[in-house]
């Protein structure tokens, strides 16, 4: 089963856990409802949609309210540290949490001892925390955008806010940034780099590139990276190997974007609704040209 840990942007949202459903235009977990906006809610909505389309179990989530003070995040770190040794998840995805080095290290120490070892995916604040802590290599997958890749590549930056200018991104330098991130031990075993072209890479370099369809407006829309992380989490948890899951998730995400025909003003919930249609289209025509290029 897939477990997603993250935050909801409300100070009064309680710490909750359970399987997640979509009811109407909201997520439902226990007795709590959540609007589908960018962030962990978008990740979960995409994951619920994909799991349903693929006839997989709905994702499990551990959520707490946090508007940036970190108080909710610390509660969730504590909860995960206590609860994970008694749970059994095949895949754990860690998302919008306040990046705090000591709490990441404590949680990683617990996750590293789980047997069997789950696939560990980190995005957003938790990815920052893993890199800050020097423990990136203990994760199976990071999902940075190109700007965040520059942060991973900058061995001195503790947060993207401090990425040095000479490293800040130019998309045509992605291979160099990937190499630099691995050279300094600041990348997970695999990276999905989200951008105009999406890449899957490991320590040997770029394994796959997907550059079609092109939907330029997606870069401006908050949550399109969250949906990709949700999709790849479901596909890995469904048993696909990481490379195939990554490519499939990238293709679904890009095709979903095209189906939605967004403008830069489109909101993520409008795009997420198109995920089932994209999955159906790719299942019916799996060889459809989405610009995939395997290089590794």
């Amino acid at each position: 089963m897939l477990c997603v840990a993250g935050t909801i942007p409300e100070d009064n949202f309680p710490l909750v856990e359970g399987t997640v459903e979509i009811r109407g235009n909201e997520l439902q977990i226990g007795s709590s409802t959540i609007d589908i906006h960018r962030g962990t809610a978008a990740l979960l909505a995409a994951a619920v949609m994909a799991a349903a389309a693929l006839k997989q179990a709905a994702p499990f989530a551990c959520l707490v309210g946090d508007t940036g003070t970190g108080k909710g995040s610390i509660r969730l770190y504590r909860h995960m540290i206590d609860a994970l040794p008694h749970a059994s998840f095949q895949t754990i995805t860690l998302h919008y949490l306040q990046p705090i080095i000591r709490w990441q290290k404590s949680l990683q120490a617990v996750m590293g001892n789980l047997k069997p070892r789950p696939c560990l995916i980190a995005d957003a604040g938790f990815m920052y925390a893993a890199k800050m802590s020097g423990e990136a290599c203990l994760y199976d997958l990071f999902t940075p955008d190109v700007g965040e890749l520059a942060f991973l590549a900058d061995e001195e930056a503790p947060h993207p806010f401090y990425t040095r200018g000479f490293i800040l991104h130019e998309e045509n330098r992605v291979p160099d940034l990937i190499a630099r991130a691995y050279k300094h031990g600041n990348a997970a075993r695999h990276l999905i780099v989200k951008g105009a072209k999406d890449y899957l890479a490991d320590e040997n370099g770029i394994l796959e590139t997907v550059d079609q369809p092109v939907v330029e407006a997606l870069e401006a829309i908050g949550g399109t990276g969250d949906t990709l992380t949700g999709l790849v989490s479901v596909l890995i948890d469904a048993g696909m190997n990481l490379r195939e899951a990554a490519v499939a998730a990238i293709r679904i995400n890009r095709l979903t974007g095209r189906i939605a025909q967004p403008t830069p003003a489109t909101q993520i919930d409008e795009i997420i609704k198109c995920i089932p249609q994209a999955i159906r289209a790719l299942r019916e025509a799996p060889s459809a040209d989405t610009g995939r290029m395997a290089t590794g």
Binding site: P99, T263, Q267
Partner: protein, 186 residues
Amino acid sequence: MAFFGFLKRNKTPDTLPDQNGRVERGILVFENTSEVIQAENLLKQNGWDIRVMGPPPEIRQGCDLVIEFPLIEELEILRILTTADLPPLKTVPVSSPLLQPVDIFQIKDYGRYLMVRAANMKLTVDKETNVIVNVSGGGCPDVPFLAASMVGQILADAPSPREIGHTLCGYALQLAYEEVRRRCSA
């Protein structure tokens, strides 16, 4: 003074010991980024020559900012902060260069829409209406909160990330917000 005015000033190379080996600058360390932002506003309003910077590795906890200040003014600055109920956790002399916040913007013009990226944060505005239409990027928990608070608002009326944000992602979004406002008012 603008919140990010420090980015536009000449960087003073005074974070290291002077030629006589004296340390001239110190840093104020706070409980969280929100307190740093409040202290920065207060000290700048009082005319102090301070800068918001990244902390040195030995005191780094995660999503951190510190305030660099003239060490010789420590007592007066501490008095102001304490009076405002914003006492720092500690003050530390600066003995090595501090990290500089990012100061590069990337601009994408979609025609009707304009997107500005600062560090890992992107803000997109409808140029015809000046309405903020999207916030993307970032990873700290205040980003979805900031997006929910700002999207759909007219630029001039929207809450600024400085006022309601708490993290470095919020700080980066403030940079993008200031740049969008500058470009849309030009």
